[in-house]
Symmetry: C2
Amino acid sequence: MPVDDTFAPLEWIGSAASGRLRLLDQRELPHAERWIDCRAPEDVASAIRDMAVRGAPAIGLAAAYGLVLAARGSGTDAAARIDAAERLLASTRPTAVNLAWALRQVAARARSNPEPNALLDLARELHAEDVAGNRRIAELGAARIESGMGILTHCNAGALATGGLGTAIGVIAVAHQQGKRIHVFADETRPRLQGARLTAWELSRRGIPHTLICDSTAATLMARGRIQFAVTGADRIAANGDTANKIGTYALAIAAHHHGLPFHVAAPASTFDLSLEDGSGIPVEERGEEEITSWGDGRTCPPQTRAYNPAFDVTPAALIHSIFTDRGEIKPVDRDSVSRTIGLKP
Amino acid sequence: MPVDDTFAPLEWIGSAASGRLRLLDQRELPHAERWIDCRAPEDVASAIRDMAVRGAPAIGLAAAYGLVLAARGSGTDAAARIDAAERLLASTRPTAVNLAWALRQVAARARSNPEPNALLDLARELHAEDVAGNRRIAELGAARIESGMGILTHCNAGALATGGLGTAIGVIAVAHQQGKRIHVFADETRPRLQGARLTAWELSRRGIPHTLICDSTAATLMARGRIQFAVTGADRIAANGDTANKIGTYALAIAAHHHGLPFHVAAPASTFDLSLEDGSGIPVEERGEEEITSWGDGRTCPPQTRAYNPAFDVTPAALIHSIFTDRGEIKPVDRDSVSRTIGLKP
């Protein structure tokens, strides 16, 4: 399976009435490319909770397709089924706001027309808009990249994290397509290693030169002049530009700031939560200790040692050089600029 | 095996003529407590190179005992054997300067008296001085710790990394013994997980409350007011106070500085390399990519992905609040203060 501008990590197969949502099981990458068929909203909820599908825009789209599955369920009360599925899917992961955003769009359509066909049309529309938006994000970001740059990214904000192309990796991929000579430093991204498993896989498939590093190595590469540009995705952005993203993003933004290097975020408008004044209101998911205390079947630490595993951190707007969005570049990153580009409090 | 103030990760057993150096194999921790017997300098060199013994002061002491093994070897020319063993042991790991320091002491003694007994006496003296020095370091550092503090440490600068007690963990252990209510956040320390495997093991054995975190999580804990004090060991300190330590230390020092928190180093005088004006001259060991690209038998990333694995980074003196040494606290950390406390260029 090539990773190119047409690759999508999720796809609806068949008709609205009898088809299914097909998801690439990202837990198996880079070793196996296995796809999961979801035929009920519960299947989609499990896939999101267990991180078979992950990445803020991708889980939003998976949830949108999940409501199509709810609409065609058995029994007569489609509205009740959609309502229950919306609650189930919304509860799977708390930080990414694209999930709530996508569910809200499809549930609103369902109130006027709960036909599976109508909802599938909308889910596909959201999916196509996501990819088109990523293209705009990528072009904005790539314009800031110059030949010869070392580029740092964290976690995976690639095609796998979205409807296709990706946000941060979209920026990198378009710069590469433009013939710019770049080298990517991909943080391995503990504890789940999305950088090693997913970003390195996407960069390899696209033939983009890259080096895998431990998360804590980025700062010393900055000090040595090997990194000129840093870009990550986002899971939720508050009205003032404070940005939640994968744990470790904040430390990178501080290090970039310390070295006078630009730290960028790439995210669609659906990642903004204008109901939050600032990042202090963003709920941060805490995941199981075993993601840190175990590896495969073995423990990494003594049996009595406990671990703390927040999945995200919040980077204050002041540390972000600009945010590339499908509605334009937000720069400087502050309340006025967010409001001008994304809109006002809903 | 308890970890208390009498615990040592290495010990000479028996007479100088027929005894052996016994080393705790730290690669097996925390799962098994297996000891390795070294009966020739080559055994010690392998143990250092393969990191069965690690930590700047501990590898210095292991090398000192290694020269005792060389002195009693067969053949008549003890001086030549000691000379060859010194070169072999010095080549095992390039960054920690305690190794060269310990070898220099023992080789100098050997020039006047190459008897195994005389060299064993000296090695044991260096070992005892290391532990006594760590006690002084620990008391200096513990005096800066207040009840209620959250304390961050990185990698393992504990009893396991020294002749006993430890440097950074010595500071923490003495504060705990003084009845101060503290909580330690131990970075897991990628790629070799010395924090998860070794520091958590030592803290557990000493009954010190602690939580294991991913290296990239420290910054967000600082932002949330959970960390008030950071302390690590060191592998080499230049004349101006620039400090080489485990990869990731620099990122923590930047984050501590950003949050206005004190970042401390704890190290004996043998860690100082006054021949180097600043950190730019410190050789940084680059270890194999497989420490990042593999875990157990499996790869973490695609087969074609390359990794970059510097084992250390250099933290500039300006980011270090003070250095606790066996000769006093260096504060502020600058050339004058280092020279006043440690001495002048040798």
